[in-house]
């Protein structure tokens, strides 16, 4: 085992603070934790604005937890009281309650904006590539957790949108053959979304998921600080160490990135406060107007749309009609043929792909489109987690990839945004057709990535980072 305990001896006239820190460090690795995780964590010096969003996400997490705690002090998780406890008590009676509530509701949307930008950064610079697969997986799990957190939290104000949104999403599970209806009943704890549902969603929202979220954030950061950050050039700074053992192209996070992050934080808070004070509803996108009407199980609002951060995936669900299933079947056939002809997989793997494809097609011909809508909806989220294994590009960063890769990214981004917009709108035949096209583009981007990401003429990747001192 380790060495025997030894008290650090500081000179008698050392400052009291130093003595206290030495006393703690002998008993708990406080300085070591700080230095490993931030103080002496060497990060590449060529970070750009894309590298702000990780710390901003952390800030919003803290903001959500703190405002959430104060909201819990006035909120009543009871179907008879919930709506009034939010709209009357918190919004009108509690001094400054409206501010805390708007910070929390705006924080939810801000969280997704920041996390989507953070993920875009990963996509642009290949931050998920070996050896950072687990960072991506933990981050992806955080994203799932956030979606669940947002979904559970959205029921709590007990407005019409809360109620019917939950009704629609819980009924998604009802599409699973055989066990579906019982599963929905089990999730709701009643025949419809009711008091029982509200109470359990409250428990998930305020304690179960935040605990999981914090654990995942810790894992995400520990994994990151273990392997080190990627950078806009997508090269390993650890391959060129200086005489002090630190990478030549890296600088300690503190104070260099502390100050830059603080500037980013102040810019973010400027925009965030503007929204909180002047546009907390954001035209019905951050807080939907129908949610100012109390939940009514007997009356569905004329148009149910989820909050904006779910709409891209929700559009995939809606795009899956009975007719579209034939297109999906054709796509599965084409993909299996493509795998046989183009991939270097073993014969066994190709056979497995063919069998899986056949099972899928039989399933698509026998089971209802509703079920496959749910499957595609789930797949459109989960496929993001598979990126580290789909991307085969020799250069991590978009900077050194062929120009047309950028256009593919743009096309993917546009179809994602189009899906998001269409998910907020009432379905019309034209909109459904567009969302079907975008769904195909979305999945093609990922499923064909092993081929297109390795194709084209790559630019030479530098050995040292590109950096212009200013």
């Amino acid at each position: 085992m380790g060495a025997a305990f030894k008290e650090t001896k500081l000179p008698a006239n050392a400052p009291a603070g130093h003595k206290a820190l030495a006393w703690i460090d002998d008993r708990f690795p406080l300085s070591k934790l700080w230095n490993d995780q931030w103080g002496k964590y060497y990060a590449p010096k060529n970070f750009n604005i894309w590298y702000l969003f990780g710390s901003l996400a952390m800030l919003i997490l803290v903001l959500q937890i703190v405002t959430g705690i104060f909201l819990t002090m006035h909120y009543k998780p009871d179907a008879a009281l919930a709506f009034n406890s939010v709209e009357m008590t918190i919004m009108r009676d509690v001094p400054w309650g409206w501010l805390v509530r708007y910070m929390h509701s705006t924080g939810a949307s801000a969280f997704f904006i920041v996390v989507y930008l953070h993920m875009t950064r990963g996509l642009l610079y290949g931050s998920y590539r070996k050896p950072r697969e687990l960072i991506w997986i933990f981050g992806f799990a955080i994203f799932l957790c956030l979606m669940a957190e947002a979904f559970f939290g959205y029921l709590l104000p007990w407005g019409q949108m809360s109620y019917w949104g939950a009704q629609v999403i819980v009924n998604l599970f009802g599409a699973i053959p055989v066990i579906g209806p019982d599963l929905s009943l089990w999730i709701r704890g009643d025949y419809v979304v009711s008091d029982a549902t509200l109470n359990r969603f409250f428990a998930f929202h305020v304690i179960a998921l935040p605990l999981v979220l914090l654990g995942l954030v810790a894992a995400h950061l520990i994994a990151l600080h273990e392997v080190g950050s990627n950078n806009p050039d997508g090269i390993e700074v650890k391959e060129h160490l200086g005489p002090d053992g630190h990478p030549l192209d890296a600088i300690p996070s503190h104070p260099y990135y502390s100050t830059k992050d603080l500037f980013g934080v102040s810019m973010f808070l400027l925009i965030f406060s503007a929204v909180v004070f002047f546009a907390p509803e954001m035209g019905g996108y951050f807080l939907e107007y129908n949610n100012f009407i109390p939940a009514d199980s007997m009356k569905t609002p004329p148009h149910i749309a989820p909050t904006w951060y779910f709409t891209p995936f929700y559009s995939v669900l809606r795009a899956t009609t009975a007719d579209f299933m034939y297109v999906v079947i054709a796509a599965v056939v084409l993909y299996v043929v493509f795998l046989w002809v183009k991939s270097r997989l073993s014969y066994k793997a190709k056979m497995a792909a063919a069998v899986i494809g056949l099972v899928l097609i039989i399933g698509m011909l026998t089971l209802e489109a509703k079920f496959w809508g749910v499957v595609l909806f789930g797949s459109s989220v989960v496929i993001i987690g598979a990126l580290p294994w789909l991307d085969h590009s020799p250069a991590r960063s978009i900077r050194y990839r062929p120009k047309w890769h950028m256009w593919l990214y743009v096309l993917f981004g546009l179809s994602f945004i189009a899906l998001g917009y269409l998910g907020t709108q009432l379905p019309t035949p034209a909109y459904t057709l567009i969302s079907q096209v975008c769904t195909l583009l979305y999945f093609s981007f990922f499923l064909l990535m092993p081929w297109w990401s390795a194709a084209g003429r790559f630019k030479p990747v530098p050995t040292r980072v590109t950096f212009h001192p200013h």
Binding site: V168, L185, W186, G189, S297, K299, T300, H303, I304, K370
Partner: protein, 204 residues
Amino acid sequence: MSNEKQVDSGRRGLLVATCAAGGVVGVATAGALVSTFQPSERAKAAGAPVEVDISDVKPGEMKVVEWRGKPVWILRRTPEMMASIPKNDNLVADPKSEKIYQIDMPEYAKNEFRSRAEHKEVLVTVGICSHLGCSPSSRFAEGPQPNLPDDWHGGFLCPCHGSTFDLSARVFKNKPAPTNMDIPPYMYLSDNKIVIGKDEKGEA
């Protein structure tokens, strides 16, 4: 002296038994926690059958009552409405309601009018779309109108994802909703009184 670990098979056996017993207790506890998610006795009791007086429902009118927290529609169809229903037989996905339904389809509902023989004109249905649980709105007027086909004979339109249903609550083909709306078990206590959630076969 040898440092090799000697396995005491008696103790190893006890260790395995302890782990197994602990595992059983753990699984049982998890089972209890999972079970707490089921509907409570109170929720089940609230799901009891509901008696409804339908004397105030005039032809062409619809009454909405609550059963198990869901809206149940009671629609007294006019002779013209009844005459329009067979015209949809080729346009609906499941004309005789033979698919598998969330609530077992009562025998008396497996026909185009989906109602009991005593009062064929009275439709009793759970007013919830089989797609994702929204409550469709009434569109009884015939003829062309927004969001509906031009040969519309009256029925229901789901505002969420555009599924359409005829006056027997049967879903039209190629719509997001896979099946017709559910028909709860129900029976007549008298000409003007029905009970929802119960029939000769027992409670739902």
